[in-house]
Amino acid sequence: MPEIENPTPSPRRAKTSAYPVEHFVADVSETPVAATDSKISDDAPTSLWREAWRNLRKQPLFIISAILIIAVIFVALFPGLFTNEAPNDNCMLSNSDGGPAPGHLLGFTQQGCDILARVVYGTQSSLTVGLFATIGVVIVGGLIGAVSGYFGGWVDAILARLGDIFFALPLILGAIVIVQVPFFRENRNVWTLVLILMTFGWPQIARITRAAVIEVRNADFVTAARSLGVSPFGALVRHVIPNALAPVIVIATISLGIFIVAESTLSYLGIGLPPDVMSWGNDIFAAKSSLRTNPMALFWPGLALSLTVLSFIMLGDALQDALDPKARKR
């Protein structure tokens, strides 16, 4: 576990903090600690988060991505508004691999199901899997990574090695075992999948967070905060984590897409969602068998998936910009 030998930050690596500090170091007696404190609390945007939010609202990137995400969530919640087909009960082989027809804008799958209806109805489970698995992984992995990187020592040793064990565990092995726990066996659904993806996804985020925290915890503003009497945990939450978020956001937004697709791969291995649950992953997998004759059956769910991932990646970029104090100065 990395430990700091020389707590004085090297000058060339001075990370700019959220506080407007001039480039001289005043004697402690000249600037009473209390005065500094009060000055900060008087400033309006004390919270990094609140300031980030103010920043965010003005960004076009954020607005576009937010609209897209809200649209996707809307489709997920009210699929019936977007198609008249009952997607799971009206698959006629006579329509197999058919092109667009009146009332069936996007054509048919190999099983003769309406593609538009499947894509619309698949939104809910795919989004649930992607979103909640990501949230879960970020919370669990982020917390473990942050704690292990910030505190170091034996805490880090235990948590990091635990992550190693989980990371090396084959996903299929764990997934097959989780799926056969009696509780899940009889009602396998999206939440089973979320749990599986969380169980095996957290070590990655944990390692990335740990690295970012190790990098940030040596920054002068953290040292400053600590010397001002902020508790270790307080410093971690208020100063270290916000500044270590960038790589975590990158991994999380990509993982969102990866998780949605992973559901497809798990279906391929027979441990994904049951075949009667509609999801983009299930459809992409099913479309593979008619890839050369009916590529559109793959294209549409793939496009829906891409747009969703794109909107979350854009949201991530916007969030990073908002959180990055250096970018804000400009």
Binding site: A14, K15, L169, Q204, A211, I284, Q320, K326
Partner: protein, 308 residues
């Protein structure tokens, strides 16, 4: 530093015990009777099933099975799989190929990801950046079993630049295409991580200072921006090595690579606990070493981080 290394190596012991125990337990609790896998579609007689169980200690309780395995391990006897092949031989057979494939994929994703990510970051918001974003979206949104199949079909079958499948020798040229496919998803991660870090660091004070000092742009980017952007990337790559080696089930299947991923997959499906545990143990060792290397790299990338 020396003490740090000693401690890290000592940590391997509990990791090893914990991991083998956990994995053995997971395989033990896999659904289905292992004899069903051996006996196949048409089954075999109860007498035959009973002798198979006895042969592989399948009737023993979990702890007994686990300790029998550990005992064998201490005498360098890993046992055999259900087909009667020594596990040590299987490992010696599949790991070199997979290692080659994984390292090639890692090099590809590292080099391509960092280079593309760097330029995308420097030209944030420009056409190049947006193009790269779309490409990475495709990589993320199209599952590997589709992407791999398409690349195999186009490059191997239609263009005939390479054989569609990998032969038993698994030569360097044969592995190029599978390595590309295997590294694609991680390439997207590396590229986005690099891009983000570059954007963050390009406006850092020390970069401005370096520029102000009159250093060339090449040197500023090459030394100051790059070096400080590498911590998340190195972390990701270190963690990815294990995933590339053990999780290449789909890619190995598409290109018919006789590697770790598929051997592991088949062993899990057949419930061959000793095979699964042995392979995963090797994977964990590789994984821990890769992570140790990355942790040491932190100190080189960021001089403020020291190991005592």
């Amino acid at each position: 530093m020396a003490w740090y290394l000693v401690r890290r190596f000592l940590q391997l012991i509990p990791v090893f015990l914990g991991a083998t125990l956990l994995i053995y337990f997971l395989v033990f609790s896999l659904p289905g009777d292992a004899t069903a896998a051996i006996c196949g579609e048409k089954g075999c007689t109860p007498a035959v099933e009973a002798s198979i169980r006895a042969q592989y200690n399948l009737d023993e309780p979990f702890w007994v099975q686990y300790f029998l395995y550990l005992k064998g391990l201490l005498t360098f006897d890993l046992g055999t799989n259900f087909a009667g092949r020594p596990i040590a031989e299987i490992i010696a057979n599949v790991f070199p190929t997979t290692a080659k494939l994984a390292v090639m994929a890692l090099v590809f994703e590292a080099v391509a990801g960092v280079v593309v990510g760097l330029f995308a970051g420097l030209k944030k918001g420009k056409l190049f950046d947006s193009t790269v974003l779309v490409v990475s979206l495709v990589v993320i949104a199209v599952p590997i079993f589709v992407l791999g199949f398409l690349m195999q079909f186009l490059i191997g079958v239609k263009l005939e630049w390479t054989n569609p499948t990998v032969s038993g020798d698994a030569t360097f040229t044969e592995l190029i295409l599978p390595a590309l496919v295997l590294g694609l998803v991680s390439f997207a991660y590396v590229l986005r991580l690099t891009r983000t870090a570059v954007i963050e660091n390009a406006s850092a004070d020390y970069v401005r200072t370096a520029t102000a000092k009159g250093l060339s742009r090449r040197r500023v980017i090459g030394v100051h921006v790059m070096r400080n952007s590498m911590i998340p990337v190195a972390t990701f790559l270190g963690a990815d090595l294990g995933a590339l080696m053990g999780g290449a089930i789909v890619t190995e299947g598409i290109f018919n690579v006789n590697g770790v991923g598929n051997t592991l997959y088949r062993a899990v499906l057949n419930g061959e606990a000793p095979v699964v545990v042995s392979i995963v143990t090797v994977l964990i060792l590789i994984f821990c070493l890769a992570n140790l290397l990355v942790d040491l790299l932190y100190a080189w990338l960021d001089p403020r981080i020291r190991y005592a």
